[in-house]
């Protein structure tokens, strides 16, 4: 299977290690990964701010960049939902662009969604060990692309990992792109509520599969002096797979 990585601007600039893990995990599972180097951003900030014209310009470019890709995988549910839900809508009056947008939407997957729904790897070949106590924040835009408990099912595969459910797991952390710098009071109250619930779980690892939420929640944890390891699930799988490989080498 051949896959193009859509890294997204936030992951590229702030969390490149997440993307490295995505590439490594996919490769270990036999996927051929490439990286279209012209990619930048899907346009979401402009769309959400009401600059539809700027959004369309950037979205059209994104469609160009991934035109020849067989499949597109991204470590962000939010950017994935923009491609899937809004690209076709925004070009609905332009038959050619609409067809291209629909084609891109049909072949674009969020990372965990791709693993669970498309690739379905045989995990029994991997002794995934990840000691610790983890909780998980459900990122909002997974709703729109039909993802429910896929990440939790994956977490439960880790040997030695205790999963603790987060209260109001599916309540928005308050990021919302430009919302966070336009309505700071609301956004701040929302993320403090999220952190309070994370504290209650007593977990040492917080799993967040989206750059925006990570930025917001990790930033609020740090402001409160609350130390917790914030990880993307790709990083956990990557580490556990690397450990398996290490053990294989030794034996």
């Amino acid at each position: 299977m051949k896959v193009s990585l859509f890294v997204t601007c936030l992951t590229d600039l702030f969390y490149p290690d997440v993307a490295v893990s995505v590439v490594r995990v996919l490769r270990r599972l036999g996927v051929d990964v490439d990286f279209p180097k012209q990619q930048t951003c899907c346009g979401q900030p402009a769309l959400n701010s009401g600059c539809g014209d700027d959004f369309r310009a950037v979205a059209a470019r994104m469609i160009d960049v991934f035109e020849d890709s067989e499949l597109v995988v991204t470590p962000s549910g939010s950017c994935c939902s923009i491609v899937r839900e809004y690209f076709p809508v925004t070009f609905k009056d332009d038959p050619i662009m609409h067809r291209r947008a629909v084609a891109l939407a049909a072949k674009t997957f969020e990372f965990i969604e791709f693993l669970e729904k498309k690739l379905r790897p045989d995990w029994s070949k991997w002794d995934l060990e990840f000691p610790g106590v983890a909780t998980y924040h459900y990122s909002c835009h997974l709703r729109g692309i039909g993802i429910t408990d896929e990440a939790i099912r994956m977490l439960k595969r880790f040997r030695g990992l205790e999963y603790r459910q987060l209260e109001k797991m599916d309540q928005c952390c308050g990021f919302g792109g430009t919302f966070s710098v336009k309505y700071g009071e609301i956004s701040g109250a929302m993320v403090r509520d999220k952190v309070a619930n994370i504290r209650k779980t007593g977990a040492e690892i917080l799993v967040v599969n989206d750059g925006g939420c990570t930025m917001n929640i990790a930033g609020a944890c740090r402001r409160e002096g609350f130390e917790i390891k914030v990880m993307h699930i790709a990083q956990m799988i990557d580490q556990a797979m690397a450990a398996t490989e290490q053990r294989r080498l030794v034996s």
Binding site: V20, N48, C51, R143, S180, K182, G184, S187, M190, R223
Partner: protein, 474 residues
């Protein structure tokens, strides 16, 4: 007369700050909305295939809206055939005048009212009181709101922002109930107080959850029995109905009723479901002698003709409020309109003026919980985005933001500029201001972020630069 809505801060940000600073408000609202949200989630699967029922409900509403003229005429015809009288009001003022005139012509003094969002929209109580009528809200929540000169803060649970001790003090002060925090005792006190009002009222006013075209039936749903008392005891009954409330048939009504209570409060059905078809007939033991329906437009036909038509699907269940993290945080009053929450962010600007309420569509993280909860699948997040775009096109976007996005667009359309821009940001902003990989005080507009939480510095090397290594060392 309540003056709460005139003393509220005029500015959205101020109202938000005040709401968040109100002790216990966020906690009380979160508790109550979560209970209803969880209740809805638990009971909806009883429908078997809830998603299909919701799709069906959306289709019924869309079909009705597409043929509204036909179904409204049929409804009117059937109300009249049943002996009822129909009045049309283009504006809220007209609706108030019509209802006041009905009262005056019949020498009405005391009016008992069922909870109705349409009447809230037009501030009917105040208009009638100004005309010399005594108006008594009989829904427990609305009753508390009325005697405290407050405003409702939730479509279904108007008093959601008040705690039991607060309510106990209001009862003590206004109707002389000895202080008690026992909800049952407070309810009994309200019941005793209202009983006399019911008995002596000359006119009842209710809203209309659904108007059934094929039969001319007005359907209202309540949980307290006050609705039944108001609509059967007084000699004159007036139902105030938004013109989008019509459904074609009783079978369609059944679909809506299946969804309404489950979505609103997690009940299978509300305790009372009233179907009222005309005035008292010879031989009937009770019922009003006169049955009036006031059909109100008040901007609805404008919405019908525009690109937000689907908001008229709304059945006022409040499920989107209960699901909304912003509503849970700031409560209903901060929205500054009659309809709070996600649906209010659309309805208030559409009914009361988009530019006057430009914060509403913007103050959303677009998390999509509302769409997930909506029984009639109104595309609320998509509409919020569209309205932001509309506001920009009406010149309501700050020039600086407009310019910033223009530059951003140029940057994002070129890989070179994207990399250059982000590198410059990393070198200058992160290099000068970040400590240990974090910012705790950014210059404007980033200060809005760092007032609330820290902001991460960029990674030393973006993924774009790491890819080469990954290719060479798989």
């Amino acid at each position: 007369m309540s003056d709460a809505h005139t003393t509220a801060a005029p500015d959205f940000h101020t109202r938000v700050v005040e709401a968040i600073a109100t002790p216990g408000l966020t906690a009380a609202i979160t508790r109550a909305t979560l209970r209803q949200y969880e209740g809805r989630k638990a009971i909806l699967p009883e429908l078997g295939r809830p998603l299909e029922i919701r799709e069906l409900a959306a289709k019924i509403k869309d079909h009705t809206l597409a043929n509204l003229d036909r179904y409204l005429s049929l409804f009117v015809e059937n109300v009249q055939r049943n002996g009822g009288q129909v009045h049309f009001a283009r504006t809220g003022e007209q609706a108030c005048r019509i209802i006041a005139q009905i009262g005056k012509d019949r020498g009405v003094r005391r009016i008992v009212k069922v909870k109705s969002m349409a009447s809230e929209e037009i501030h009917l109580d105040h208009a009638l009181e100004a005309d010399g009528f005594e108006v008594v809200e009989t829904d427990l929540g609305e009753f508390i709101i009325q005697i405290d000169h407050d405003r409702p803060s939730h479509i279904v649970a108007p008093v959601i922002h008040k705690t039991t001790p607060q309510i106990a003090r209001i009862f003590e002060r206004v109707i002389g109930t000895p202080y008690t925090e026992d909800p049952q005792m407070l309810t009994m006190a309200a019941r005793a107080y209202l009983r006399e009002k019911f008995r002596t009222a000359d006119m009842g006013i209710c809203g209309c959850n659904f108007g059934v075209a094929e039969t001319g039936t007005v359907c209202i749903v309540t949980n307290e029995g006050n609705g039944r008392y108001c609509t059967s005891r007084p000699k004159v009954l007036v139902a105030l109905m938004g013109l989008e409330k019509v459904v074609p048939t009783l079978a369609d009504l059944a679909v809506m009723l299946k969804l309404l209570a489950k979505s609103a409060t997690g009940q299978r059905l509300t305790t009372y479901t009233n179907l009222m078809t005309g005035p008292k007939r010879p031989g009937d033991l009770d019922g009003p002698e006169e049955f009036h329906v006031v059909i109100m437009d008040r901007g609805r036909t404008g919405i019908l003709a525009g690109e937000y038509r689907e908001v008229l699907r709304c059945i006022r269940c409040g499920a989107c409020l209960n699901a909304c993290p912003v509503y849970r945080t700031i409560g209903g009053h901060a929205y500054g309109g009659v309809y709070p929450g996600p649906i209010g962010k659309l309805i208030t600007p559409l009914l009361e003026g988009m530019c006057e309420h430009k914060d509403l569509p913007n103050a959303s993280s677009l998390c999509g919980a509302c769409l997930d909860a909506c029984p009639v699948q109104i595309p609320i997040p998509e509409f919020l985005i569209r309205m932001r775009d509309d506001l920009r096109q009406r010149g309501q976007m700050h020039w600086f933001q407009r310019l910033a996005f223009r530059m951003w667009r140029i940057g994002m359309k070129s890989k070179f500029l994207y990399s250059l821009g982000s590198r410059m940001g990393h070198i200058f902003l992160d290099g000068l201001l970040a400590r240990d990989g974090w910012h705790s005080k950014l210059p404007p507009p980033g200060n809005v972020w760092t007032d609330q939480r820290d902001f991460p510095a960029m990674a030393p090397r973006p993924f774009h630069r790491m890819w080469k290594d990954l290719q060479e060392n798989p």
